[in-house]
Symmetry: C2
DNA sequence: CTGTTAGCGCTTTCAA
DNA sequence: TTGAAAGCGCTAACAG
């Protein structure tokens, strides 16, 4: 006689249902349902509960999610839409979101893409949506959404969709003040695409920090990168460094932009930070290994993710969410790309 | 009398069901179902079909997914598990996967995490799984999976889970041959974590390319990075460059490792590529903006994603999948980090 | 060409 | 403390 492992996983046969467990435990399916969902306010004789639990375990029962969803009108999944996966910022946000979602019994699933595409496909598969993808038209957007509870993650759009934000304006100001404190008087800005709310807020922070310090600000010291990537940063910085007199410092609105700016500076035969200082926005492990290591400002992105889910859970429960600003302060990560300006 | 916009989106009231559409169109729900799911082999009088379509549109009907899933036992979602979102390689794979999935009417949702965590939560929410997360124990893994159709993406584990792979071994060989052709005779390797299948295959490619060329290979020229990140690459390269005689070229098993190696080299006061040449594995836009721009090998990752879905769809349909190797060749992206060795 | 019928597997009153 | 019954919204035979 061959040994049959006791815990053998049953082959892909017909799956075991609530009814099978009920049969095996000698009770009604409804009892099994109540026991297994841990219905607190239900009195079940301990021995009955034990029998049910034992049967469920023995039969390796897995509730059918579609049936449960059909009945309860809840999927217990939260969707997150991001414009592109390969961005460490989104990954940090997702981590926070995931943690908070898990604590509430939800799972987080992420979809790449713009909202208009993915939306129809998501309806009915998620209980709520975190939208981190860029959008320019909030109301168009709302109508697409229909009644899916949604919160915008670090972007505020016209319209009534609640947003959770980090203080990008303050973060930008931290960067600029650092440069000013180092003694720079010609601080330029590689701005992000101005159709993105994040980029606008960072630009505002740059402008207001300069103003608050009474420092000089010239319109030509701001150049907008049409997208958040290295090539765009390279191009913008090249323009900036061609100015006369040349800016001695550049604050880039994003890490990829900063990397492009760094490359541009060196390709112009200038050195960082001796000739020009550079500060980037959003931190990543990579920053420490650039040449020179890049000074950046780190935003509380994991907390952003957590709070966004927090807010979304409220919406799912029918509470009307309001905008929230993550209260943790931005943090300057000082490395080597910013130093005092050359003694002109 | 107030104007009521005709296309007003109904408030979050009770949603419209198949029955409502049927009522409005004056037909039976089953007819609506058939018309809307585009059942080809069904004859419906054109005018009936038109009435149904019109009613559905007017009422803004959205099928209830849970009900459909309960009935059909299909979710039409493919899950993808990745170890971390912030890796451009996964993002490329996901793009390919998404495209192929969409063509078959599926959507792709990605989950971060290791398989053991996420799995129980995924069962019943996806029809199949693409696993790109590292695993060391394939059989343990299979038992967790139960009967969820799965394909491993660019990792082969012992056990019977089908895998779709790119030819990492050939890719590594391309890199090494490039270095050899440049005239290097002391080519070292920063290997990835050897519990990862990708890392093992790349190491194999390094070894066999050296052997095929009759070039010298020394055990101390290979150092393993315990993880695929910049810090580990930095450390490994530092060790390598302390060797006597010093290797004149380094092939790094991954882009992040290569970036760390680049930084290490410079921090040792050596220059790239004058003193030492570096070639990385997997390409990213960033590579062109490093100092110097990094020569890399680009693998057909989008195709990997497509083929993985292809294979998974087969499994979902009950066909037993076999391992497949993406046939597109690796491509060397020549930039500036590799050059002939210094005239010793 | 269209309607009838019978569930899919679960949860949740309500009744015993 | 447990069981009975109804139904979530859809699809897919089968019948007409």
């Amino acid at each position: 006689m061959a040994d049959v492992p006791e815990e053998a996983v049953p082959a892909a046969g017909p799956s075991v249902k609530l009814r099978d467990v009920a049969l095996a435990a000698g009770v009604d399916p409804s009892v099994v349902s109540r026991v297994l969902s841990g219905d607190r306010r239900l009195s079940v004789r301990p021995e009955t509960r034990a029998r049910v639990l034992e049967a469920a375990a023995r039969l390796n029962y897995r509730p059918n999610r579609a049936a449960r969803t059909l009945k309860t009108a809840r999927t217990m999944v939260i969707g997150m839409v991001v414009p592109d996966l390969a961005n460490t910022a989104y990954s940090l946000i997702a981590q926070g979101a995931e943690r908070r979602a898990a604590a509430a019994g939800y799972i987080l699933m992420v979809m790449r893409g713009s909202v208009p595409d993915g939306l129809e496909e998501l309806r009915g598969r998620v209980d709520g949506l975190l939208v981190a993808a860029a959008t320019s038209d909030g109301s168009y957007f709302r109508s697409l959404l229909g009644d899916i509870p949604t919160v915008l993650v670090n972007r505020k759009e016209p319209g009534d969709i609640p947003a959770v934000l980090v203080d990008d304006e303050a973060g930008a100001a931290v960067a600029v003040r650092h440069l000013l404190a180092l003694g720079h008087s010609r601080v330029a800005h590689v701005a992000g695409p101005q159709n993105a709310d994040t980029a606008r807020r960072r630009l505002r922070g740059y402008v207001s920090a300069l103003a608050a310090a009474g420092a000089e600000a010239r319109p030509e010291w701001v150049v907008e990168a049409p997208v958040y990537d290295e090539a765009a940063g390279h191009l913008a910085a090249t323009t900036l460094l061609g100015l006369e007199p040349r800016p001695t410092a550049i604050f880039a609105a994003n890490i990829r932009l900063a990397i492009g700016a760094l490359a541009a500076t060196r390709r112009l035969g200038l050195s960082v930070p001796e000739d020009v200082s550079i500060v980037g926005f959003d931190d990543t492990p990579l920053a420490a290994f650039l040449e020179p290591p890049l000074t950046t400002v780190r935003m509380p992105l994991a907390e952003l993710g957590e709070l966004a889910v927090e807010s979304l859970l409220g919406e799912i429960e029918g509470r009307r969410a309001t905008d929230v600003l993550v209260s943790l302060p931005p943090e300057l990560v000082v490395r080597a790309s910013a130093a005092p300006p050359p003694a002109a």
